[in-house]
Subunit: 176 residues, 2 copies
DNA sequence: GGCGACTTGAAACTCGGTGTCACGTTAGCG
DNA sequence: CGCTAACGTGACACCGAGTTTCAAGTCGCC
């Protein structure tokens, strides 16, 4: 409820123009309540985003152990693709808002960045032969870049391009 | 001068504990002057960082056109490696501060993120056959990840590991 | 001397975020 | 039924970053 009110204001006036007081007034609650709900203004938009990290790490751990790192990462990210496909209208609007707002873009990166150790850890556990930590970290980071870049292209195409295909294309760019 | 004063305070007390007023008082200037110099508190640390982006893009454009994208990116990043090697003591201290301070870490990513289009553009200009934009963007992003991850490992090793080798190792992780 | 550009300082202001306290509601329990 | 503890909410004070505006200096230059 609160998040919907905030999102509507953000989309109408732009994230930076809307103050927390505006959100509180529009929702009929106090500023304190808004802050208590979201912690930060950015989290009014990106709150749902938090769960994805653990989901992807879980999906990665569930991949067959013989599988190639890149393949496993690609399939694990299908979790996110599915979420976007499930309500593509809302995802598109939110993504556009994020891409248009540096503060949101940055905050989203911060959240995703915190997934990285878990993904690298999951890759390390999968590997038969031990590899240097740097290897897993780089692969996790690159996979997340692929996701972000694919999503950005998808949003810019107004959902005319297929997110799955874009993600495949992004991963393909890594393998020469 | 101002930057040195700020850095010393940050390293001594932590970035978040030091206010702009503290910096102003320590440097014997007014708060206004500090803000006018740096724009933001983060830029008191990351100001020198801005130039690197154009340097890397320039180095990338200067690579022979027949060269592999990954090889070209790797060599272009030597510009940054050289800067770090030139004054490894200062670079180490600054890197540690950045890694220990979320606000700085984030701001550094923002700056590096703004390099990405230039790097992707440089890759596009190098390519003989035209490739989808997403390919160049992914490769530029992955290369920057390699740089960051290598630098982080190098800083955590207290300069006992070689940054060049770590960067090679990071790039190697991308090619299976 | 006077003019204009640049630098600095001062102060007021906006806004995000933290912390505290008081008030009401509700649930649990004797 | 009444007591209490927990919780959600609002009000308020506070801090610090960043913006803006205005009022001096300070310098070179004509």
């Amino acid at each position: 409820m609160l998040a919907e009110v905030a999102l509507e204001l953000f989309r109408r006036d732009g994230f930076d123009k809307v103050t927390i007081n505006d959100i509180a007034a529009a929702a009929g609650v106090s500023r304190s309540t808004v802050l208590r709900y979201f912690g930060t203004k950015e989290d009014a938009v990106l709150g749902a985003f938090d769960a994805h990290g653990e989901q992807v790490a879980g999906a990665l751990r569930a991949r067959p152990s013989g599988e190639d790192d890149w393949t496993a990462l690609r399939y694990a990210l299908d979790i996110v693709v599915d979420i976007y496909r499930q309500d593509s209208e809302a995802a598109l609007a939110t993504t556009r808002l994020v891409l248009a707002t540096p503060a949101l873009h940055t905050r989203q990166w911060e959240k995703q960045h915190s997934w990285r150790p878990a993904l690298a850890q999951a890759l390390a556990e999968r590997g038969a032969s031990p590899r240097p930590e740097i290897t897993h970290t780089v692969r996790a980071a690159a996979a997340l870049d692929c996701l972000n870049i694919a999503i950005a292209h998808w949003a810019r195409s107004d959902n005319t391009l297929n997110l799955d295909d874009l993600l495949d294309e992004a991963f393909a760019a890594l393998r020469q």
